[in-house]
Symmetry: C2
Subunit: 297 residues, 2 copies
């Protein structure tokens, strides 16, 4: 398909534009196909906890999608963005980085020379609510929607997130802070916007993300450092609904909110009406995380 | 997550904007999550073949994604767009309609009141190449990438198209006009941008799209009208790689290019190196389609 001419209308308003002009965001492959990725980060006092992990993950996962991102450039955009926020006296919030494959290509075919688009966005954040959640725990909705299996895309925080949108649409009550998602084989994978760790009589386990799910940066910090530092072991294995019914402790985690204990799971079918206490080991892990990054206290 | 303040940078250029301002396209749920759909249509002489089917499918599939689209409004935007193209003496090309869930919501949660964004885009089109393809046939690449199973999203032309992007990245030679995609169970599903029909000794069959794939408008026209009009029968059933190896006739179809015979499949593993002749029944169907819409002749 040649694109010598390009016209468009947005919500009925006609516009003539160049096919690859700076105004042609409607042709960005991020919008057209979800050809891109994102990171959601905590921002506090001109710092981003786990910044290096976020930038590293974004760039290495981008390569799987054929998008070549330079770590130094991404980190420099983020650094400049943080500087401006700090100069504007912005104290705390959330920073999201979107990296897309940019414009061009012929249909699904990527352009030979890709010009990725890197967008940094700040939005405010209810830190008090997150603090309450860490203290008191949250309730999870057990989503009926199932995550599909995809070994190529599993683990990547890409822009194809209809699974999460559809799962999140199952409940509207603010009683449930997040939803728990299973795959088609009744394995627990993750929450819609957090990873999951559970302690059973066999010890701590977090779901394997070989088939589905997003491999979160906070999850990696927990596996690689926090558990070890507390002399606790954790395994990465399939987790079945039955394991949650036997849960001694359960928490979700992400890099915006930290470690959030789960006290209840509700929903239709299996895994409905489960109550769980907040355990000592969860408190130890929260405390260890707070020592590294006080914004998660 | 509250969004009382919003800042962003695009490729390193800082900008302050309102969270829901008209300039905040970077917050559109279509970009953020692929929360939207699209149609790709042929435009010829101020007409869009299958226009009613395209608009109807867009609106009914949008409802599955929680997006409420008014058919009359979408059709009116399309109609106005066609009028302006015609006034600009644009003779032929492709029109794409994107419909997204618009801005707003809290993370994956959709806003209570959704303001969908409807974008019409025109781009030129190599009609001569398509005509040659219909006459001479095309070669397909057999993609190694497998389509995941998802009964909720199967059939819908949504904006989560990383599957097609990754499959399309497997070959770069222009020798292959499209690629053939299988699911994890070795069932043939579709081409990256077209549906598939195959004639074996048992007759014509097109793959069931209950688990994966896009239910194309041209496919529907073929199933509902063109086969019947030619006194041919066609079934919708799982199609296995073995069925293609026994193919007597094979074609792909979409509403941009019409009915394109396939003469060869190449690639690694099964289904590599298959040659197929262009058969009389394919020619009959092409001719019947051309009578309805001469742009596909």
């Amino acid at each position: 398909m040649q694109q010598t001419n390009f016209y468009q209308s947005i919500n009925g308003i006609f516009a003539v534009g160049a096919a690859n002009g700076a105004d042609a965001w409607q042709q960005d492959r991020g919008l057209a196909y979800g050809h891109g990725l994102f990171e959601t980060m905590r921002y506090q006092g001109a710092l981003v906890p786990l910044r290096e992990r976020h930038v590293k993950r974004l760039c290495s996962d981008a390569a799987v999608l054929g998008i070549s991102l330079d770590r130094a450039i991404v980190d420099s955009h983020l650094g400049q963005f943080i500087e401006v926020l700090a100069a504007q006296k912005v104290e705390a919030g959330v920073i999201k980085i979107l990296a897309t494959a940019g414009n061009g290509g012929r249909g699904y075919q990527s352009p030979e020379i890709m010009a990725p688009q890197i967008i940094c966005q700040y939005s405010s954040f209810d830190a008090e609510q997150a603090s309450d959640q860490r203290e008191l725990g949250i309730k999870l909705w057990r989503c009926a929607y199932r995550l599909p299996s995809n070994t190529v895309l599993a683990g990547i925080k890409h822009l194809n997130r209809l699974d999460q949108v559809l799962a999140r649409s199952e409940w509207s009550s603010s009683e449930f802070a997040d939803g728990i998602m299973l795959d088609a084989h009744d394995s627990i994978i993750e929450a819609t916007s957090a990873n999951i760790f559970v302690r059973t009589a066999q010890g701590w386990v977090t779901p394997s993300l070989e088939q589905a799910g997003v491999a979160g940066v906070m999850r990696a910090l927990l596996i690689e450092h926090l558990f070890l530092n507390q002399n606790l072991s954790v395994s990465i294995n399939p987790v079945l609904a039955n394991d949650l019914e036997q849960a001694l402790e359960l928490f979700v985690c992400n890099s915006v909110r930290g470690i959030i204990p789960v006290t209840h799971i509700a929903g239709v079918g299996t895994l409905s009406g489960i109550d769980i206490s907040i355990g000592d080991q969860t408190r130890m892990l929260q405390s260890a995380l707070g020592k590294l990054y006080p914004c998660y206290l």
